[in-house]
Subunit: 440 residues, 2 copies
């Protein structure tokens, strides 16, 4: 299994394969990850394409994309079963035949032997490769990857076929694809992303004005997602890398002058990571008490490596009894005629109880109606109370979130983290305008 030589890779297409993707049974996360890796290297992505487990469609996609870019990276279709057709599709597109690779067979046998698993005869189909191609070693599964080229008289496209499961695909990319890539020498792509919360996308665009003209270098664009509006600044051209960086930084500076009050992070930071880092820098800590979000907020905080430095933990007080027994919400708040589980009083008591019992510097609580059932005329689905308890008191707010159960839960976490961020950053602008815009 050799690492192939490569020409210069200026542009790439990402190909995902599988009925489970085109049938909508599974979300494609590989295309995003692969794009990130290539873009970081300065390689442009011309297209993502997903095709079903259909030999003709698969081979046709390869044949169509190959003349238009220098690199195709596919994932999926390398499994041992009859619906895995990547080997054949690559052979057709490369006008090649499949041969058995003895070294590949040895590696597959070794993989099974090391795990004391019996080898199924069909696993040996995974040792087949195009005669002019090569196999890529899989250290995390049975399916070797494939490399080959699709060539015309004037153009060569390198094709790397990786397995579908991310835990096999990602290490194989790092081990066998990344070292073989030749990013363009003279061409520079430099991007920065600023993330804002509290302004709608069009309000933000109005503030930025002519900065967003499509003829500008660098280009500035915005994207709204789950309550966050991200501002992308992107230079692509022939300038020296230092100059590209300076142009992007200057544009970011202008953005900050116009909308900096709402910008909470730069780059890969999220609201959760900014909150955690700020707490850590101050030697402070956080705990959470969740009802309708049921762990989503804790999950978001603990997803960040090193979060244990300031995240102590929390409670999922999903039942009223858990609210009472575990964080000390007064029983009378649940009585007939009392405010009830979704109320300012209960949200505040949850946050205060969580702060007291954990000893955290701040605590966030969320209680609401995520639906689809459980709404009432006075507390419709989407009614969410969020409270932040801190050393000098608490801040408790009502939100009316639109959307389905998953959206309501996700936006509730964003609103809670935005409240924590504003508290920690001492921001005083009118709050969460964008989140509240969904408050009907």
């Amino acid at each position: 299994m050799t690492t192939p030589a490569a020409t210069e890779h200026r542009s790439a297409a990402i190909l995902s394969i599988g009925d489970e993707l085109t049938l909508g049974q599974k979300l494609d996360t590989n295309a995003r990850w692969l794009s990130q890796q290539l873009v970081d290297l300065g390689i442009s992505i011309i297209e993502h394409v997903t095709v079903p487990d259909d030999l003709d469609a698969h081979a046709a996609a390869l044949a169509r994309l190959a003349p238009r870019c220098d690199l195709i990276i596919s994932s999926g279709g390398l499994g041992p079963t009859a619906d895995d057709l990547t080997r054949q599709a690559l052979a057709i597109a490369a006008r090649d035949t499949l041969v058995h690779d003895a070294d590949g067979e040895r590696q597959i046998r070794a993989w099974f032997a090391a795990r004391a698993r019996s080898l199924a005869p069909i696993n040996l189909t995974q040792a087949r490769r195009p005669s002019r191609g090569s196999l890529l070693e899989n250290k995390h599964g049975t399916a070797p990857g494939l490399f080959s080229t699709i060539e015309s008289a004037s153009h060569r496209c390198d094709v790397f076929c990786l397995p579908g499961p991310p835990r096999e695909m990602m290490p194989m990319f790092d081990a066998s694809v990344r070292p073989a890539l030749r990013p363009p020498e003279g061409r520079v792509i430099h991007t920065r992303v600023l993330h804002s919360v509290g302004l709608g996308e069009s309000d933000l665009a109005q503030r930025l004005g002519p900065l967003m003209d499509r003829s500008n270098v660098p280009l500035i664009g915005t994207t709204a997602s789950g309550g966050i509006v991200s501002i992308r600044i992107r230079y692509e051209g022939e300038a020296p890398r230092e100059r590209a960086r300076a142009l992007v930084d200057a544009a970011a500076e202008k953005v900050m002058q116009l909308a900096g009050d709402y910008v909470f992070a730069d780059g890969h930071d999220s609201l959760a990571s900014v909150v955690l880092r700020t707490l850590k820098e101050r030697g402070q800590s956080i705990a959470v008490v969740e009802s309708c979000t049921g762990g989503t907020l804790a999950e978001e905080l603990t997803a960040i490596p090193g979060s244990s430095a300031s995240m102590l933990g929390g409670w999922i007080t999903y039942s009223n009894q858990m609210k009472q027994t575990q964080v000390g919400v007064p029983t009378e708040l649940f009585a007939q005629g009392a405010p009830g589980a979704v109320s300012r009083e209960v949200a505040r008591a949850m946050a205060r109880g969580g702060r007291d019992r954990s000893g955290a510097s701040i605590a966030l609580s969320i209680t609401g109606i995520a639906g689809p059932d459980g709404g009432t005329p006075t507390k419709p689905v989407g009614t969410v109370w969020i409270s932040l308890a801190h050393a000098s008191g608490s801040d408790t707010r009502r939100f009316s979130m639109a959307g389905d159960r998953a959206s309501i839960r996700a936006w509730s976490c964003t609103a809670a983290l935005a409240m924590a961020w504003q508290h920690l950053a001492g921001r005083s602008h009118p709050l969460l305008r964008q989140l509240e815009a969904h408050a009907e």
Copy 2:
């Protein structure tokens, strides 16, 4: 804004638009959701395509796909800013010009007025549409959708352009696209998916044998994802709907005879939903105590509507102190030379403490090292202890998960839920073979 007449829609392509997608900054969830809706109606998906915010690439994708299918549904690029180019791309591909839509302007103005938000002049660009097309009302945002057709002498393709944010896209699909669709009359697609845990994909394929031949009707395929191997059974053809269903059911019956011991669910059920439903049917309940997964397991359980019937809640005992004070893990287990936080003893004490304090019928605990830091030679990253406490004792197991932090957390939840399922279902086959296969 009229609902357009449509021809028969046998096949469709899904187009996603945005630099944030091709740059890998954002995950495309729309393509999956849209595919699900169309497949449920019996419409075949020929391809998913994602292009950047580039007018030429966008118009070229429309022009390429239109002759090959009856329907294109796009999402993204309808925002008010200069990088939103869907209107122009559609006009180019349909060989049409853009006009201002007075009714659209009224709706946009009404949307802003109802929210007491000021209208930015650029918002009015969202009232532009191809002259032979129409706008689709957006009840959840400012961007109307677009409908138009791309026609040749012999073929017509209907194109619906929806906004990118899922909370706007999904209701617009339901209100304006779904009623306009004409699924093929004579053509039937019928699918079933069985989900299994505990067998590797190739072991499962070996059990199924010739059932998986690509020439079979219905087709049977497998997909592995995060510890679950799903078996897809799919009929597509001209048979009457009842006959298609019978063929698929007969194939599912054969699959159950060969591998039923490992099958935990059918259709859209997940391990979490099966566990919750079983508990509810028995009048039982569950609580969770999470360390390294930090809320991921609770999130997975509470994501299911109606989960409060059997999910009481839980604890995120992220710090050792929370483990001691909140669920009563004995302090001495953390002393020098004692087993420590990642151990059989602590996992068992967490599950027992959580069960006792919540009064739940069963409790699951997870404690481990999700990485990237914190590993030691005897407890490397990926070491995870999981315990299930129940009325007659507890079941505690060690797993060695591969992959990154997110994978380790996700697989830990799958393993925990699989333990609960096996306990509730009384299954006795060798456990979690597939999960343990990642145990090196």
